[in-house]
Structure formats: structure tokens, C-alpha cells
């Protein structure tokens, strides 16, 4: 009988170990759940880690208010199926409370505002461990991040002063007011995620598969026409067959033209893709060479 796990099984076993370790060692963990594919996989892993018991922590959605309907519907359905507590941290509420100021103009984005909303929610609920779906292959600043990533009382990440992380022995020690971001998917790649969604039959929102929708071309990206998206002169909506590679704020997440209607089609496209998912579809990462590092230092996901 074989005694060797496949790479996906080995990644799964590692992630489940991390999730259980957090449940055992922290008092108030929370899992960030945006409804995107990475958080869908993370939720599935958490489900597996504690079966047949319920997942022993709540999930939190940092809601920019700029959502795709399909994603919200998916989020609420999964939460109901797993009998979870959902905490919605609202960027709109942060704006209304004067904690952040809305950007102006047709290119306004709430991406950066999310950090304040997230950190406020962590403080308000007293969370000491926050699961994120970040992967090291996503972006070069993320490649340096630990599985257990320490955040100080301001939620800041200090990339030059990280705790060494050896074997599978994680150090989650922190003081009150500090917290640990935990990344169980650290060692997964985009292709691993898709292969796992296929082999494990993980349900994801329908917008990851090809569908027709009106989009505008902006900065080399295809942005969905929604009531939130500002209008620029000269932009004409087109009705195209598209799918999304990542799902975030609807105003800064681009679609790609695609006819991939099934998971097999999507995997074939991902395997052949010559552009990273963030480079292709995330306006938020194009700010500068250190865009992600700067936002992460402030406490971003």
C-alpha cells in the first residue's frame, strides 16, 4: 500500500495542522472569509480539520460595500450550511463613523480603507488570531511572510524583524492587543488551489466561470460595470464573455476574457497563463513596486 501523500494531500495535511494548532492555542481566532476562491478553500480545510464537529470560530467578511451579488449569495449560503457565526466588518460604517475618508473621483477605491475597518474589528471583538487566505506565490512581499505572522498593537507587520519559523513549531505568543495573522495556505500556489477545488469538489462563486457581463476597459483591465464604478470619459461598456481570476472589491478587481465554463477549462487556462493573477486583475497591486509591502505593513490582509 502506498505511504506517500500526493502534493495536494501533503499541503492539505499541513494546512489542517496549522488550523488545529490555532484553535488549540488561541482564545479568539477568526477566519477572514471574502467568498473568494482562497477563502473557499480555507473554509473547506477548517471544515475538515474539526469534522464531525462545527468549526470552533466565527468567520469575518471585511465588506467594502462594492460586492458582486453572486459572491454575497455564496457567502451567506456557505455560512448557513456550516452553521457559522458571520461577522461583517463594514467599510461603509467606518466611513460613516469618520474613521476613514472616502477617496474621490472616478478611480476611487476602498481597497486601502479596508485596513482600518479590519483592524477596528479585530480590536472591537478582541480577536487574537486572524486566519487569512494569503499565499506566498501571490506577490513578492508575501513570499517573505511567516505562517504565523506577528502584528503589534497597531496591527503593523515588520518584515525585517520576523520570528524564525522552524519545522512545524509555531510561536503564537503575544501580548494583549497584539495579534497573529495566520496563513494556512502559505505554501499553496494558484494552480494548487484550482486543482484542489477540482479534486475536492469545492464550491466557489459562479463568477469564477465564464459568463457574459458588461465591462469597461481601463488601465489594461476589464472592470465590471456596476453602480459603484465611476465613469471615465470615453469609456464604453462592452458585453463580453469573461471570468474572474480573483475576487475582491468590485471596483478594482478585473475580469479576463475567457470561455472557461468548467473547472477543467479554468485549470487549463491557469496552467497556460503567462501573467500572475494579481498582475492581471488587481488594480490595487499596481500602485507601486512595493504596493503590497506598504499595505501589509499597515495591517492589510
Amino acid at each position: 500500500m502506498p505511504t506517500q501523500l500526493s502534493h495536494l494531500e501533503a499541503l492539505e495535511a499541513e494546512s489542517i495542522h496549522i488550523i488545529r494548532e490555532v484553535a488549540a492555542e488561541f482564545e479568539r481566532p477568526v477566519l477572514l472569509f471574502s467568498g473568494g476562491k482562497d477563502s473557499a478553500v480555507m473554509l473547506r480545510l477548517a471544515e475538515k480539520a474539526f469534522w464531525p464537529a462545527r468549526i470552533p470560530f466565527p468567520v469575518m467578511h471585511v465588506d467594502t460595500g462594492h460586492n458582486f451579488d453572486e459572491v454575497l449569495e455564496y457567502r451567506d449560503r456557505r455560512v448557513a450550511e456550516l452553521d457559522l457565526q458571520l461577522v461583517v466588518a463594514s467599510v461603509q460604517a467606518s466611513i460613516d463613523a469618520g474613521r476613514v475618508v472616502e477617496e474621490r473621483g472616478p478611480r476611487a477605491s476602498r481597497n486601502r480603507l479596508q485596513t482600518v475597518t479590519l483592524l477596528d474589528a479585530i480590536t472591537e471583538h478582541g480577536y487574537d488570531a486572524v486566519f487569512g487566505g494569503g499565499r506566498r506565490d501571490e506577490e513578492k512581499a508575501r513570499a517573505k511572510e511567516r505562517v504565523y505572522s506577528f502584528r503589534d498593537e497597531f496591527g503593523q507587520w515588520d518584515p525585517k524583524n520576523q520570528r524564525p519559523e522552524l519545522w512545524s513549531l509555531y510561536n503564537g505568543r503575544h501580548r494583549k492587543g497584539e495579534h497573529i495573522r495566520v496563513f494556512p495556505l502559505s505554501n499553496w500556489t494558484e494552480l494548487d488551489i484550482w486543482q484542489y477545488i477540482a479534486t475536492d469538489d469545492v464550491e466557489i462563486p459562479s463568477i469564477y466561470y465564464a459568463h457574459r457581463r458588461p465591462v469597461v476597459r481601463r488601465d489594461g483591465m476589464l472592470l465590471a460595470v456596476t453602480s459603484y464604478l465611476g465613469h471615465l470619459d470615453g469609456e464604453a461598456p462592452e458585453d463580453l464573455l469573461v471570468r474572474f481570476r480573483t475576487v475582491g472589491d468590485a471596483t478594482c478587481t478585473g475580469a479576463v476574457e475567457s470561455a472557461a465554463g468548467s473547472i477543467a477549462d479554468v485549470i487549463a487556462e491557469v496552467a497556460a497563463s503567462r501573467v500572475t493573477e494579481r498582475g492581471e486583475t488587481r488594480a490595487d497591486d499596481r500602485i507601486s513596486e512595493a504596493g503590497m509591502e506598504d499595505r501589509k505593513r499597515e495591517g492589510y490582509f
Binding site: M1, T3, Q4, L5, S6, H7, E9, A10, L11, A13, E14, H17, R20, E21, A23, A24, K48, A49, F50, W51, P52, A53, R54, R136, D137, E139, K140, A141, R142, A143, K144, P159, K160, Q162, R163, P164, E165, L166, W167, S168, L169, N171, R173, H174, R175, S186, N187, T189, L191, D192, S273, R274, V275, T276, G279, E280, E289, A290, E293, D294
Partner: protein, 418 residues
């Protein structure tokens, strides 16, 4: 598809980042937008070549200073294997970074510059790989293009390194002449080295046999978390969740529970959705036992006739990571498998010079990047095996109780049964 984890180490300017960039590029893991960004930055900085090192330097400070600060993880795959690279910088905090990278590695890849040969740093990397029980080591002799692909020079370096490695604990040693810059022997055989009949680097990475590196003999299952649904459908369910550290577990097996010393048998081993026939490392499972016993996180399941040493006295090699020195008499928090304790440093036997293997027994403290042998006394018994035999039950970390930093990594040499 199998997973292979390897750590790369090298000195400054020996072309490590270029080699990794080359592997990623040739296995088509570098995307067009990443390559364009690197090309643009290379131009902006006035390089007359595409600096592949820019691909792996992720932090602003690294790009500004042109150095790699911290361990970075890289991923690529071929149809045969998925690879995780722990890319460890060669200069600042070298021991700390290399130890971290090597702790999870199946293989270590050490680079030397063909012109410079085996340097002190190359020896140090080999010592650390050996210390961390990385079973396979590849010495890539890089920049062969700068020595005219000279077979004699390659042989000389191999001989020198083989002599040194004989003093170490390395099972499998391979030598490959490469030019990372030009791609020779990285993915395809080089026409410039007709005298070299071995595999290319990628071929070696894809084929090196790691199946027997795991310990499938000594059954060890540290209990991580107790699953008790207390729901209508699973009213009496009680599963001990954890990751198999070593050995095999099957339903019906008799098991010894530590520290209580009770024996019972395995009723079932569950994964999500139902039972499995057997569990082996690194599976994450949940074990149900035939008897109701008081078992919690930090306990360990093993076999009655094959158990780890239960002890408060541990003899270990320690790698030290911080400016505040390790001193005799100091107390640290310990994390060993899923078990937490505190430990006092009873005695520092010697500091190991990782360049010369010399043992200096006149020292009473270890400072940043030092390695030394210590005796520890723990507040509660640990269930340990020798690190050489069991990476999971033979390793631990030390945490400073005042600032919560991870300050040391420990590898068990031996334990004294009480």
C-alpha cells in the same frame, strides 16, 4: 505528484538568485508581468543584463540595498514534482536563516563559485544541513563558464568538498557543474561539459529518492486538539486530532498513552467524512480510542514496545538566533511537538565552530548565530527521540519569556530516562 522541499544556500555573489531565477524561468514559473517588471527595474538601475535576482528580492529594503534579508519561499512544478524552495540569504543572520530553511527541507542545494572553490561559507552550509539532518545535498559548482568549463577545476572542488563532507552526517552527496547565467546543466545538458555524465540539476531534483527519508518505524502521534462535537448525530464522539509525526497507525493497534502510561487500542482513524485504513506521516487525522481515557493536547500516542523517552533532562544541540545570549541558568519557554513547557539551561558543554567543527568548551554563553551543545531541565516531562532518528519528536524551539521572540532551535541528542 510528489512534494520536494529544498533549501538553497550560497555566499554573496555566487549566483544563487540567478540560479533560482533560471530554474523558475526555464520551468515557466515566471510570468510575463514579473519578467517585464524585472526588465524595467534592471534598465532603471542601469544594469546591462536582466537581473534575475530582482525576482526573489521581495522587500523594499532588499531592493534598495541589493541584498536578501530574509528567507523567501519560491514554488515551481514539473509534471513529476512540486517544489518548494526555501531561499536563504548567505550573509546577514546566515545561521538563523539557513537553519530555518533547512528545518523543513528534504534537500540542501549549496552553491560555490568555480573560480573561488569551497569557501568557509560553503563548509558552514554543509555543516548546518548535516546538523539539521537534511539527507540529500547537492553542490552546484557555478560559473563554470568563467573557468572555461574545465573538468580539472570541477574535480578539484568535488574532491575538496568530499573530504570535508566525510566528517559530516550526509547520506547522499551530488555534484553538478553549472552556469546559472547561461543555463548550462540547469535544465538541459550542456554541450560545453561533454565530460560530465551526471544528471542536470532539474533532473536530479525530479528524481532524487526521498521515499525512505521519513521514519515509518516509530509510531508517534502527538495529540493536538480534542474533537468533541457534542451534537445530536455525534453525541459520544471523541476524536484525538493531530498530525502523524512518524510510523504507521491502524485501527486495532494497541497504543500506549503518554504521560499517563495507560494502554488501549485504536478503534478508528478518521479523516473528513469517515474512517481510513491507516495513517502515516504527514497525515492530519483524528484517532478514536477503545477506552475512555483522560487525554488532552500535549499527550502522545505510541506503541507499548516502542516509546520515546519520557524525561525532564534533555541533551541537545541549540542554534541561537538573538543578540541576547543564551546563558547557563537561564529559563526559556519550550515548544516540543504539541507540548509546552519551560526549560532551564543546566550546562553549556561547548560551542561548535560551524566552519571548522572545532568544539570550544571554554564558553559559557551562546550569541547570535552560535551553535552549541546544552543540557536542559524541563518543568514537565517531554516525550523525545533523538533528532537523527525522528525530526518531529527530536526538535523543539525556545522562546524568550520576556519578549516572546523565538530565540533558539533545538535538536535532541539524547535523553536521560529518570
Amino acid at each position: 505528484m510528489e512534494l520536494l522541499r529544498f533549501a538553497t544556500a550560497g555566499s554573496v555573489d555566487d549566483g544563487k538568485s540567478t540560479l533560482i531565477g533560471r530554474l523558475l524561468l526555464e520551468t515557466k514559473q515566471i510570468f510575463e508581468d514579473q519578467l517585464e517588471a524585472v526588465e524595467r527595474t534592471s534598465r532603471d538601475r542601469g544594469f546591462d543584463y536582466v537581473n534575475l535576482a530582482l525576482l526573489t528580492d521581495g522587500l523594499r529594503a532588499e531592493r534598495e540595498q541589493g541584498i536578501t534579508i530574509d528567507v523567501a519561499y519560491r514554488y515551481f512544478a514539473t509534471p513529476r514534482r512540486k517544489f518548494i524552495i526555501a531561499d536563504t540569504p548567505g550573509h546577514t543572520q546566515y545561521t538563523r536563516n539557513m537553519v530555518t530553511g533547512a528545518s523543513t527541507a528534504d534537500m540542501a542545494l549549496v552553491l560555490v563559485d568555480a573560480r573561488k572553490g569551497v569557501l568557509e561559507q560553503s563548509r558552514r552550509h554543509a555543516v548546518i544541513a548535516s546538523l539539521l539532518q537534511v539527507k540529500h545535498l547537492v553542490l552546484c559548482v557555478n560559473k563554470m563558464d568563467l573557468v572555461d568549463f574545465d573538468e580539472g577545476r570541477f574535480d578539484e572542488i568535488c574532491a575538496e568538498f568530499t573530504d570535508f563532507a566525510a566528517k559530516l552526517d550526509i547520506d547522499d552527496l551530488a555534484f553538478i557543474p553549472v552556469s546559472a547565467l547561461l543555463g548550462d546543466n540547469v535544465v538541459s545538458h550542456s554541450p560545453s561539459t561533454p565530460w560530465y555524465e551526471g544528471p542536470t540539476l532539474l533532473h536530479h531534483l525530479e528524481h532524487v529518492y526521498i521515499g525512505s527519508d521519513r521514519n515509518l518505524i516509530d509510531a508517534r502521534f502527538p495529540v493536538q486538539y480534542v474533537i468533541r462535537p457534542m451534537s445530536h448525530d455525534h453525541h459520544d464522539y471523541r476524536g484525538y486530532a493531530g498530525q502523524v509525526a512518524s510510523g504507521m497507525f491502524r485501527p486495532g493497534d494497541e497504543v500506549l498513552v503518554l504521560p499517563s502510561g495507560f494502554t488501549t487500542s485504536i478503534e478508528a482513524i478518521d479523516e473528513y467524512g469517515g474512517p481510513v485504513e491507516e495513517a502515516y506521516p504527514p497525515m492530519s487525522v483524528s484517532v478514536r480510542l477503545a477506552d475512555d481515557l483522560d487525554i488532552s493536547r500535549g499527550d502522545l500516542l505510541c506503541r507499548p514496545n516502542n516509546a520515546p523517552v519520557v524525561t525532564q533532562d534533555v541533551d541537545a544541540m541549540i542554534c541561537w538566533f538573538t543578540d541576547r545570549p543564551l546563558r547557563e541558568g537561564a529559563v526559556y519557554a519550550v515548544k516540543h511537538t504539541t507540548r509546552s513547557a519551560r526549560a532551564r539551561v543546566q550546562h553549556l558543554h561547548y560551542r561548535l565552530d560551524v566552519n571548522t567543527l572545532h568544539r570550544d568548551d571554554q564558553q559559557h554563553s551562546l550569541t547570535m548565530n552560535d551553535v552549541g551543545r546544552v543540557s536542559l531541565r524541563t518543568t514537565t516531562p517531554l516525550f523525545v527521540d533523538e533528532y537523527r532518528r525522528n525530526r518531529a519528536t527530536g526538535s523543539f524551539i525556545l522562546v524568550d519569556e520576556t519578549n516572546f521572540e523565538t530565540v533558539g532551535a533545538g535538536m535532541v541528542l539524547g535523553a536521560t530516562a529518570p
